[in-house]
Symmetry: C2
Subunit: 438 residues, 2 copies
Amino acid sequence: MISKKAKLGTEPYKGVRDFYPEDMFIQNHIQAIWRKTAESYGYEEFGASILEPSELYRSKTSEEIVNEQTYSFLDRGDREVTLRPEMTPTIARMVAAKKQELIFPLRWFSIPNLFRYEKPQRGRLREHWQFNADIFGADGKESDLEIISLARQTLLNFGAKENDFEIKINNRKIMSYILRSIFELDEDNARRVSRLIDKKEKMSDKEFSDEAQNIFGARTSQFIHVLESKDLDTVTMNIRKGDEEIVGIVEIRELLEALKEMGVTNAFFSPTLMRGFDYYTGMVFEIYDKDSANKRALFGGGRYDDLLTVFGEERIRAAGFGMGDVTARDFIETHGLLPEYAPACDLYIASIGQEQKGPIRSLSEDLRQKGLRVVSDVSDKRIQDKLKKADRKKYPFVLIVGADEVKTGKYKIKNMKTGEEIECRNEEIADKLLVDSQ
Amino acid sequence: MISKKAKLGTEPYKGVRDFYPEDMFIQNHIQAIWRKTAESYGYEEFGASILEPSELYRSKTSEEIVNEQTYSFLDRGDREVTLRPEMTPTIARMVAAKKQELIFPLRWFSIPNLFRYEKPQRGRLREHWQFNADIFGADGKESDLEIISLARQTLLNFGAKENDFEIKINNRKIMSYILRSIFELDEDNARRVSRLIDKKEKMSDKEFSDEAQNIFGARTSQFIHVLESKDLDTVTMNIRKGDEEIVGIVEIRELLEALKEMGVTNAFFSPTLMRGFDYYTGMVFEIYDKDSANKRALFGGGRYDDLLTVFGEERIRAAGFGMGDVTARDFIETHGLLPEYAPACDLYIASIGQEQKGPIRSLSEDLRQKGLRVVSDVSDKRIQDKLKKADRKKYPFVLIVGADEVKTGKYKIKNMKTGEEIECRNEEIADKLLVDSQ
């Protein structure tokens, strides 16, 4: 029995969302496009629990993140457990676990929900869903190209035009070479610079230049000049001839060329693109919304060939990206690409009178077997009330069944949008509506 | 950079599952049948976060369950949060929150993952997925019937036959009346009996009878006689004439009759069916696997008209059920209904030589636009190795592209099951394979 003492609140937990059917409709639309796009490239879906041993994140993320930005706690058996904040460590764990049995290359995708404990704000919630696509064990250049194509195609499949977004591409090896070999920074300072570049957009030029001064001293303006060049040749002019292969310049040139050949007109080299400092080892990319109302990085990814080494496995070529549902929804909303809501119902059958219950149940079952989504209402309510509700619920077609209809087997189906009536016998209903609903 | 100091384990967290593509394939099959069945009845999908305020469960579940069987912890802001152990409190919260705006009746379903902290064992894991279908605010008798029909249809849509399972039906009001009015038990003792009946199957007759003795004394054998009667008339023969309406006998008779009229042959009255003691207020049902290898309750549900009262809302008629993925998988496995694994790929395109990269990329993009799932492999590996992998990966069709094919635009597609080769021009490929893959 339910205790009636306390009156409970109806709010969800802070920073997470309830999905009422209208929201779920959009959520399902987004996930369907993700799934369809990934499968069109032959990617196979995998999944895992949201519960992971905390140590999985300690190894490759800083202690700070695990301690302050994740949901981590001790379970009743004193195991440290974390609600996964990202999917990449999980895929690495799963690939490492069955490396001997799996047939490479792997083309895998997943649509996990992820968790982070931070202040909720626009585009950042405590739980969100993310589309992840990864390729393991394929030729490096080809998989960089495939991952970027797949990411781009996802946006096109939402109905976006190439002009709605742009793809910024960089290679970790270039900046790493520039910082270490040209500016002769040690590992600590190189890392400081990477972090600094990563937050450049949020700082004034003066603030950025002051912080850079602490690291580069007299060479600060030379460094800023490199960062500001949009042109691959300018950025790389100081690289020694023989080193071009090593530092990824050949890779990035080939990649940009192949994209151009495929007719991609919105991909550019971007020397300031860093994407944090963790697992990336080569190509990195981000996709930006070009609409001024939503101008920001939508999502990105890159190459991470070292991912399996923490499990004691050899390096394996890998690239991938992640795209969140919150930014995806903002993007399609900004560009007028949200689908119009339609309830999961093709036909609403309403009875007049008491005698029609049995026949309506049989008819409904029959139509469901034929593939129609049927709501049947044999309640004692007045027919006017039933019709009013069907209209408010946006049911597309309505069939009213009274004694006459049952006797004659002839039905009139009303199209609720046009008001038009279709007359047919019961065995014709499914065919008529299945055509109409397409 | 990844720290290489510690070698991490690759096991998932205790009691949860990794879904490799072959497992995910089955998981997606199960969820697709759930979704399709619910939508065929016009049910709309909703969702919510797995994180819920702990108080949501305290109000209607015992403190013991929240404290010992859930994942509950304090977040960094000192909020008590629980990973949802079931979906019913969440749907009640969401319906209560928007009761004024929603258009009743609601037909809602969801496929949440749920969590419980207990010893993992066959059929019971720490995280599982569950199909939940609920109807709110409809005529009581009709929605009891609809919920049972929907549950039954779900199993039929998996390919099960009516004879593979049986539906046991009871009504909480009957047992409640028998215990209180006939055996004159107080609330505490009535609750003790309900719990006792619930675990009857796990006890010997002697153990059961001994415990019953403590409550019923001299009337123990009379009580056991009631429990053992399979027949509605015997169980209810002592009920006073005028009380039949109140205690649900009319409801259950009409329900069984309507099911029979619909041609359902495997639904029975079962006086010992209790389903715990919480929110149920009327009809309860369970579906049992009849196969001796898996003989147990698969899932169940019932009527809970008081669900919204904890939120200070008026009672509202409601019924629903939940079906778990672990038992669903056991069921379809036991009855030979598991689908055969097929990778998410219709065509594998392999290059011979270096010059075909560009043309293969264009062809692949074109075929994807036409709806094919294409894996393209333009790596430098030997063609024999590519074919061997395609075979091991179970790709159904293979297209080898060399210089000749690019020059002439004529392709040979190999059916990997039959060995047969289809000759066609590139513009014919999609049509041929889309027909073939159906």
